[in-house]
Subunit: 106 residues, 2 copies
DNA sequence: ACCCAATACTTCGTGGTACGATGTATACCA
DNA sequence: TGGTATACATCGTACCACGAAGTATTGGGT
C-alpha cells in the first residue's frame, strides 16, 4: 500500500496495539503485521514520538537476560484514540467525494 | 484533522476532482474545500507531481485576460483511482484493528 | 563447536512532502 | 484608492517513514 496512505494510521495503530495491555516493540510489530507492515526503525521512531507527546509511558524490564521496554498507554493516548473516531468521520466524507459517481449530473 | 491522516488522500482527491471533467487549480481547491482543506502551495505541488507521474495532462488557456491551466485526467490517473478502491479495503482492515474492542478476551 | 534465525532495541542518512510566506498579475466593486 | 477574488509560482522549513547498519543475547539444528 502507498506509504502516504498509512502515515496517519501509524501512530493510532501503535496506540491501539497497547490499549488492551502493555506491550513491547517486537510484540507490537508482530501484532500489527497482519494489518499494516512497518519497519523496525519506523516503529521505534513512533514509540519515541508518542512518548514525547505523553501518549504512552515506558518501563524497562529484564526478560531472559534481554532488555524489554514495555509501553503503557496514558489518558492522553486513549483520548487520541477517541479523537480518531471523529477523524474517521471526516475520512469517510473524503472517501465519498473520491468515489462518488456524477454520471447522473450530465 | 491531523495532517498525516490526509496525506494519502490528497493526490487521489485531486484526481477525483477532475475525473468528471477538466478543471483548473482555483476551481479544484473550491471543490475540495468542503471535504478537505489544503493550501494553494500544496495543491500546485500536487498538480505538478501528478503531471510528472503522467496521471494528468495540462493545457493552458486564456480566460478573461488571466491564464488558466486546465488539468485533464489520463488513463493512468483513472487507474490510480481504481487502485484506491483496493487500498481502501486495507484501510478498512486497519480501521477495524484500531477500533476493535477486546473486552471479551479477558 | 559452529552457524543461523529469532529476539530486542538503536542510530544515521536520505528522500518525500505539506505548508507558510511571499511574489506576480488582473478584474471588479465601493 | 483600497480591498477582495481570481490565478499561479517559488522557496525554505519541518516532519517523517524507511533502509542500512550496528549491538547483544538466546536457542535450535547439524
Amino acid at each position: 500500500m502507498d506509504i502516504q496512505l498509512k502515515r496517519g494510521l501509524l501512530d493510532v495503530c501503535v496506540l491501539a496495539a497497547i490499549k488492551n495491555g502493555d506491550s513491547y516493540g517486537y510484540q507490537i510489530m508482530k501484532d500489527m503485521k497482519p494489518y499494516l507492515e512497518l519497519s523496525e526503525s519506523t516503529l521505534y521512531t513512533i514509540l519515541k514520538r508518542l512518548e514525547t507527546a505523553h501518549m504512552l509511558t515506558v518501563r524497562s524490564q529484564e526478560h531472559d537476560g534481554r532488555l524489554r521496554k514495555y509501553y503503557h498507554i496514558t489518558e492522553q493516548g486513549i483520548a487520541r484514540l477517541e479523537e480518531f473516531r471523529e477523524d474517521w468521520k471526516e475520512i469517510l466524507s473524503i472517501y465519498r467525494f473520491i468515489t462518488r459517481e456524477e454520471s447522473e449530473h450530465e
